[in-house]
Symmetry: C2
Subunit: 352 residues, 2 copies
């Protein structure tokens, strides 16, 4: 198979972990006889430094002429505490999501049998946890207008908006996913306070008859924030809007014991983007200590979702599982006998 992959490794530990994912993809190419053209492009703080733009037009063009995107992370501390910064790395991420139509972020949450002991949660709570969150990614308060400051600078405002169509397209994906899983869909909202949440509840309720085999229920976001920790095994598919999804998916990531293990997919009209969920992790940058497994599993998701290469994707997952079982892990997962980022990447590539 010949395909083009855009490689956007971004900021912080992004380049280090993405390099391992690329290494593993190359191993897959060799073993299974594929040929993937990989094109690197800039995004985030490094793109600002080089071009003044966090998501330059050249990068957008590389993405649009690719079949899938492998993404690292963006973000740099120098922008976080500067309320007046005109350009921020995050704008690049948001613009990319919007311009590429990546309206659904899909995040699987499952516990690794061999790593149950690392979770802050008790093992009996997280055994068998296996759910997936569908987060709407290009609407809501992240994009709503107007937003900004009053003239005197003494007040600020953001707007949250949703249309029926924006809700339907991501909800269809979530319903379909539930049909292929345990047939339970939970809509997380704040319908007792927000007008947008009431629209979500109405639209999703109206769609439910199209998916008669899926059981639909509703949960207020505050309650969901508790239930995800109290009874994570109760969830199957969770559907929610952009901001709630941001919070809930990161919260849910603690279940597995390490952020470094988790991958996510962002999809929409065609093109899919795959990224580890850990972010740019500035403290670890350049130290060759970051966990590359999230990035490597993102590559596995890419092969499965965008290229339909199920066997190849499973080969990556199996290699990761073996490395985990052997304890061949970075310091977040194995303090006593830690391997470096590149060692873990080499090992997993070798196991393909």
């Amino acid at each position: 198979m010949n395909k083009n992959i855009a490689i956007l490794s971004g900021d912080g530990i992004g380049p280090e972990v993405t390099a391992q994912a690329v290494k593993v993809i190359e191993a897959v190419e060799e073993v299974y006889g594929h040929s993937f053209e990989k094109t690197e492009a800039l995004i985030g703080a490094i793109a600002i430094d080089a071009t003044g733009e966090p998501f330059p037009i050249e990068t957008e063009e590389v993405c649009k002429s690719s079949d899938a995107i492998l993404f690292g992370a963006i973000g740099h501390p120098k922008y976080d505490n500067d309320p007046n910064a005109k350009v921020r790395p995050e704008q690049g991420l948001l613009k990319m999501r919007k311009n590429l139509g990546l309206f659904a972020n899909v995040r699987p949450v499952a516990s690794f049998e061999a790593l149950l002991s690392l979770s802050p949660l008790k093992e009996e709570r997280i055994k068998g946890v296996d759910f997936v969150v569908f987060r709407e990614l290009t609407g809501g308060i992240y994009f709503g207008q107007p937003r900004g400051r009053s003239e005197d600078g003494k007040s600020a405002f953001d707007s949250c908006t949703y249309t029926e169509a924006e809700i339907q397209r991501v909800a269809h994906l979530a319903f379909k996913s539930a049909q292929n899983r345990r047939k339970k869909l939970t809509l997380v909202d704040k319908a007792n306070v927000l007008a947008t949440s009431r629209l979500w509840r109405q639209v999703v309720t109206e769609m439910a008859p199209q998916y008669p085999d899926v059981e639909l229920d509703f949960m207020f976001v505050d309650n969901a924030a508790m239930q995800i920790i109290q009874y994570p095994a109760h969830f199957d598919v969770v559907l929610t809007e952009n901001m709630f999804g941001d919070i809930i998916t990161d919260e849910a990531s603690v279940i597995s014991g390490s952020l470094g293990l988790l991958a996510s997919a962002s999809m929409g009209s065609g093109l899919g983007l795959y990224e580890p969920i850990h972010g740019s992790y500035p403290q670890a940058t350049g130290k060759n200590i970051a966990n590359p497994i999230g990035a490597i599993l993102s590559a596995a998701m890419l092969l499965e979702y965008s290229f339909d290469l199920i066997e190849e994707s499973n080969a990556i997952k199996a290699a990761v599982n073996q490395a985990v079982q052997e304890g061949f892990l970075t310091e977040d997962l194995n303090k006593e006998n830690a391997k470096s980022t590149t060692e873990v990447g080499d090992k997993i590539a070798e196991l393909i």
Copy 2:
């Protein structure tokens, strides 16, 4: 001491648990020679049923002529899935907060030594957890205008707004609390995306020099949702806006193992309101099984914060601790040998 307390027991299990708190307050009156005039008033779904209004003007008057408010819960399932309901119980709660100027919700989170085993978190993570969340309560997306539906009903919008003054008044309370505690204040926001969050960060940063003994740091809300579960013992005082506070405080409540144990205070310009955090819990209503400890500890907070009756407040806390240690508990905390709501209330009143 002579004081007036407004009793707003509300919906669901509200009346059952509030009755136990009143019982304990009466025991305090007897033992310590105080006399509190208690006036009941309607709020929530029962107020809608009786008057058409979730926070009737008579109730507002009772509150305004009282020295403190003991509150139960509001909410009824018949309103939750009806996106078109014109009046909702929650509106009563929001209107009360707004009209009484209750701009700060204060929620202590601590682990009960005797109940560590009930938490979904591992004991080593929650040992010694002791933090308090200051949630802004009368601003943000809960109240911002405009909000509603487009004319064709196919889109919806909410507005999040904050002014400098709204941020300052709650931030002052949080800084002061930090001064009396471990001197660490964490502002939770989403300043990498939201204009309102950038105003929060700016205003709080500008206030920091007034509290030179307090160490201020910042955390994005998605990261905070992880850290609160991963490393809850790291927090001292957390300050955040309304919606993030709603989510974060409920999430944090799982640490103690039971929602039923937690109390909260809402304060502002003068009057304080005290409530258990568990909500109306419709499934348990009328069964005499709800845990009254959250309501009873709310009464303890009332005596301490509004009446400065420290000894009396401590007497309640000591009685609760003794009941907990003896395992004299409702079924959420003691499945094998569960006591009823009234039995636990009687016991704690007796121990005063």
